[in-house]
């Protein structure tokens, strides 16, 4: 089962694991990445992270990323939840779950999904610092490299 949600409210990590595990048979393992708002960026304390997105495009873009993961690995299910809006340090941002019969598929698909979400889902982050300043997060070259590596390895 594929579950994709783009939402302002928080999600319940345990409930998402249980929901995915309960919806599929043949699961041997679930890989997961949970992204959390950091409390500082380059040692500058953060008071909030603002996530903007492109509503008409976001879910279709994530569906395409999930479909690509399903094409590459033998997944029995996956869950992708991405929040938007204003989040405080420590709050959940994004949850990726990939369930498979074997752990390698589950873990590789998890890494792939978060790498591609970072570079192919239309979200933008703005950091608000405790000193009142704010700045848009710039795309990291490492993220492009991480995402591109899956093209080189693509089957």
């Amino acid at each position: 089962m594929r579950t994709i949600r783009v939402q302002e409210q928080d999600f319940d990590v345990g409930a998402e694991f249980a929901g995915l595990a309960g919806s599929c048979t043949g699961i041997g393992g679930i890989g997961c990445f949970l992204g959390i708002v950091r409390d500082a960026a380059q040692s500058r304390p953060i008071s909030a992270m603002e996530l903007e997105h492109y509503p008409a495009m976001t879910e279709p873009a994530i569906e395409r990323i999930a479909a690509e993961a399903e094409r590459r690995w033998s997944l029995v299910g996956c869950t992708i939840i991405h929040r938007f809006g204003r989040l405080a340090p420590g709050e959940n941002i994004v949850l990726v779950l990939a369930a498979a019969a074997h752990r390698q598929a589950a873990l590789e698909a998890t890494a792939f999904l978060i790498d591609w979400l970072k570079t192919r889902a239309p979200f933008w982050k703005k950091e608000h610092y405790t000193d009142g300043e704010q700045s848009w997060v710039e795309a990291r070259e490492e993220d492009d490299i991480a995402a591109a590596q899956w093209l080189a390895e693509g089957c």
Binding site: Y54, P122, W124, E138
Partner: protein, 91 residues
């Protein structure tokens, strides 16, 4: 020049492009000569000082046409929704 002979587009701006242009969404009619996404970005610069600032460095602008990622060479068609934004930073 008769405006109606141009190409009508909806342009969306995100993140700091939205802040600098001062708008999230604009309806524009561009001349026939503005045939690609790259042409549109060059054309938008003249709309305001804010637009000029937003599009000062076109190399850092990304775009999507009708909710699919596109590039500067992608052709525009009447009615297209063209979204312009900096590189994405979700996840």
């Amino acid at each position: 020049m008769i405006e109606q002979q141009g190409t009508k587009l909806t342009v969306l701006y995100f993140a700091w492009l939205r802040e600098r242009t001062g708008s999230a969404r604009e309806q524009v009619t561009v001349p026939e000569a503005v045939g690609t996404a790259g042409d549109l970005i060059a054309w938008l610069r003249d709309r305001s000082p804010g637009h000029a600032s937003a599009f000062a460095n076109p190399r850092v602008i990304r775009c999507a046409i009708n909710q699919e990622f596109a590039d500067a060479a992608t052709k525009l068609r009447p009615g297209d929704e063209v979204a312009l934004f900096p590189p994405v930073t979700g996840g």
